[in-house]
Symmetry: C2
Subunit: 471 residues, 2 copies
């Protein structure tokens, strides 16, 4: 704790020693980061550029995200001229706006021109009209058309995720014709993994992996070497479903088609992986009752904004549970052991409910909880709930008997435990299912609903039974 | 609930109607699944084969995973002759053993021979010596050597994840020479995205994307068109770090090197994506106190085995919190309002602690909480904790004053709230940091530690203050 008082630089030296033994091979070296800090402090632009020059755009973006307040502004003053399309597309949304303010217009225009259409869409989709128009004006006509086409699809759809830069070939071409075309073509995407075969109306009818193309004789028809895994994706598909398909079918890239089954773009696996990562993150943060945009780099204000509303909801449910306790005030006054034991019943219910809930939310997210097995799973959870209840009824019955020397009290807590764990299991599975059915995210707020149920049921069952049996 | 009583088939018809409106385009159609069920029941092998023939191996594996008990056995009786390497490598570990029992030896041998070396490693790494030897015997010499080389690396390392099937070219080759080599080569991996350049001692020195190779003139030297993103991965790197690198640097494939920097294999992005998916899943399940192998398809026994131990731990911590309450029994007997209000203090602390904890665990997993920013984050959490505490001290103070008409009681709950939310924030960040430092998984058991702290501190602060001030 004493360390908190020290000035920043000593802190960092101390931390660097602590971090050294398990230095991570995939993170920039600690010394390099220290040198970068020094260059920022010394306002030494040349040194900063030299240090950052060999780094990957994603790591530079991380450095910008981790800097705070004046440090970040100083950094941007020095470095904004060097920020290119790659770095810009790697920067988190939360930080991006501040970065854009520092970018000279011509640097921004140049950066945007370098970006693939999907990255431009990602950059401008949350901007207001005026800002958007400014960026679109920097693009050449065909790129602008591609970006606007993408923006016409709903948010979080495949259409927003795709890039319009696609390599296609007519279905009747041979390997030789295709290679000649690729060699002659001046413009090609930086990364592509398949050639998509299209008919004259631009319907995709198959794709050829570059490995097959390279290893086949020039005379081979493309049609003969298409992949089995060909799965066009609708531009209206949800991005979460797209990520699922990539993971399920080990896709590297997939063509995207519009409502008339015409090819409009391609989604590559790195974008699908990023979506999967975000969706996981959202699930985990929502389950914990934290705003899904929370990041470790948030400011105090932002952190409060993300967390206070959820704590407020929790306060309301906690007060609700207290109201149940208040009903039995007279009973508690007579048997104060009830006050000692009652949190145990509620806590066990909350934990068991959260267990079921988490498994259910994940199963829904991974599409392994479907119409076909939902009743089997509900039945299983109910059985598990009752069996858990029986097990802990016995354990807590014995504990209560030894502690307070009362057979009736032991019986009351045992029965309350069975009731609450059974209800916890049902709440844990039925609440996310109901939210999913209603079109809401099952991860969002489920936890609060479930623990409200288990608190209320737990206190009511335990104190109610005690009032009936023990008084 | 009434539905639970119905026989299975009616259930499914009812569910299929419910599921229809939002039929998922990436899941096999409901009618197809019903037809498959019918074919299994009728023991109609030809029909079953005809239905499954067009399906992707991953979907067939999912069908096997979702069948239960006798249904699964019947399915395997009918279908085991058709199970190939692709299907086998898609089946979850939990179910795989049962499937292997049904496979005729010659079908298993054939399946294993078709598999890439990384899938064979995944299949046999948890087997005992005798089973392993049986499978290895089915492989030809070079494949067996590759699998054994992989198994020599630690579990969860890049060495276990890599496939040894690599396409390499000497560093001095031209595009034309490489294409001629690929066309002449009889054996090539089914999917490959780069040609890895190696020196005479098999050190990888760069790689060429197939797209660049295809679009360059035959005379171009491979050295001139290598990718910037080249990052060899140590065979000893942890698989979680490998997944991080793929996501961070948008890698499609990456060469793996041994301790002498010699090329030993390649990892492709689909494997990295699968690892990321698993690690997320583990984090989310561990945070909820559910065994990290939990799946929605588990049996009742397996589910109990995954959850009972965690509930037992929770019971112990709940009893610990109760012991704190028991210390203040006399106080509660005099002021029963304390029993009504005390769960609110504990619950708010538990929630606030879990919020901080979840953000911290995710930040550690995504490498955004590092030596460089750890003290800044701890300070921020402490400030947020105190501010949250102040906010809810005011709210609960007012609630308690109105409810129980006592200024002192209002002051006591307010102060207890500040103390508990500040401690909750510190516990939420320091406990996962300590676990990480100690080499443990910060997601594992952190939740229990944190809520134990917040329960104990919450009850102690509130009831202790009440005893001192109100009596």
């Amino acid at each position: 704790m004493a360390e908190e008082e020290r000035p920043d630089q000593q802190d960092q030296a101390a931390e660097s020693q602590v971090a050294d033994p398990d230095e991570d091979e995939f993170l920039p070296r600690r010394e390099l980061l220290d040198q970068i800090d020094e260059a920022i402090e010394a306002e030494d632009r040349d040194r900063l550029n030299a240090l950052l020059e060999p780094m990957h755009a994603a790591d530079i973006a991380d450095i910008i995200e981790r800097l705070h307040g004046a440090d970040r502004r100083n950094f941007l003053q020095l470095y904004s001229g060097e920020i290119d399309g790659e770095i810009l597309s790697e920067i988190d949304e939360g930080v991006r706006e501040e970065v854009l303010e520092f970018l000279p217009p011509e640097v921004l225009a140049e950066a945007v021109r370098e970006m693939d259409s999907d990255d431009v869409v990602d950059l401008i989709e949350d901007m207001d009209e005026a800002e958007r128009a400014g960026i679109l004006a920097a693009l050449d006509d065909s790129d602008r058309a591609a970006v606007q086409q993408s923006l016409a699809y709903p948010e979080y759809s495949a259409g927003r995720l795709m890039q319009s830069e696609v390599v296609t070939a007519p279905e009747h071409w041979t390997v030789g014709e295709t290679i000649d075309f690729l060699r002659a073509e001046e413009w090609l995407p930086e990364q592509f993994y398949h050639i998509i075969l299209v008919d004259p109306r631009r319907h995709p009818i198959g794709y050829v992996a570059l490995g097959r193309l390279l290893s086949s004789p020039r005379a081979t028809a493309l049609r003969e070497i298409t992949e089995d895994s060909f799965r066009p994706i609708s531009a209206y598909a949800e991005e979460g479903d797209v990520a699922y398909a990539f993971n399920q079918y080990h896709l590297i890239s997939a063509p995207v088609v519009d409502g008339d089954d015409r090819l409009v773009g391609v989604i590559t696996m790195d974008d699908a992986m990023a979506v999967m990562d975000e969706e996981h993150e959202e699930d985990i943060l929502r389950l914990a009752g934290v705003g899904e945009e929370s990041a470790i780099t948030d400011s105090v204000t932002e952190t409060l904004r993300q967390r206070l509303p959820w704590l407020m909801v929790n306060l309301l449910t906690a007060v609700l549970a207290s109201l149940v306790i208040a009903v039995f005030e007279a009973t508690i006054q007579k048997i104060v052991a009830l006050a000692v034991l009652m949190p145990i019943v509620a806590s066990m219910g909350g934990n068991a409910g959260t267990q079921t809930l988490t498994v259910a939310v994940r199963a829904l997210a991974t599409k392994s909880l479907t119409g076909g097995n939902v009743w089997r799973v509900v039945r299983r959870e109910a059985i598990v709930g009752v069996l858990n209840g029986l097990a802990f009824a016995v354990v807590m019955g014995i504990v209560a008997y030894i502690w307070f020397d009362g057979v009736s009290l032991a019986a009351v807590i045992g029965i309350a435990m069975i009731v609450n764990l059974a209800i916890a299991a049902l709440a844990g599975i039925l609440i996310p299912l109901a939210l999913e059915k209603a079109g809401a995210d099952p991860a969002l707020a489920s936890g609060t609903f479930v623990t409200t149920v288990t608190d209320v049921v737990g206190f009511f069952a335990f104190l109610g039974l005690a009032s009936a049996v023990l008084l």
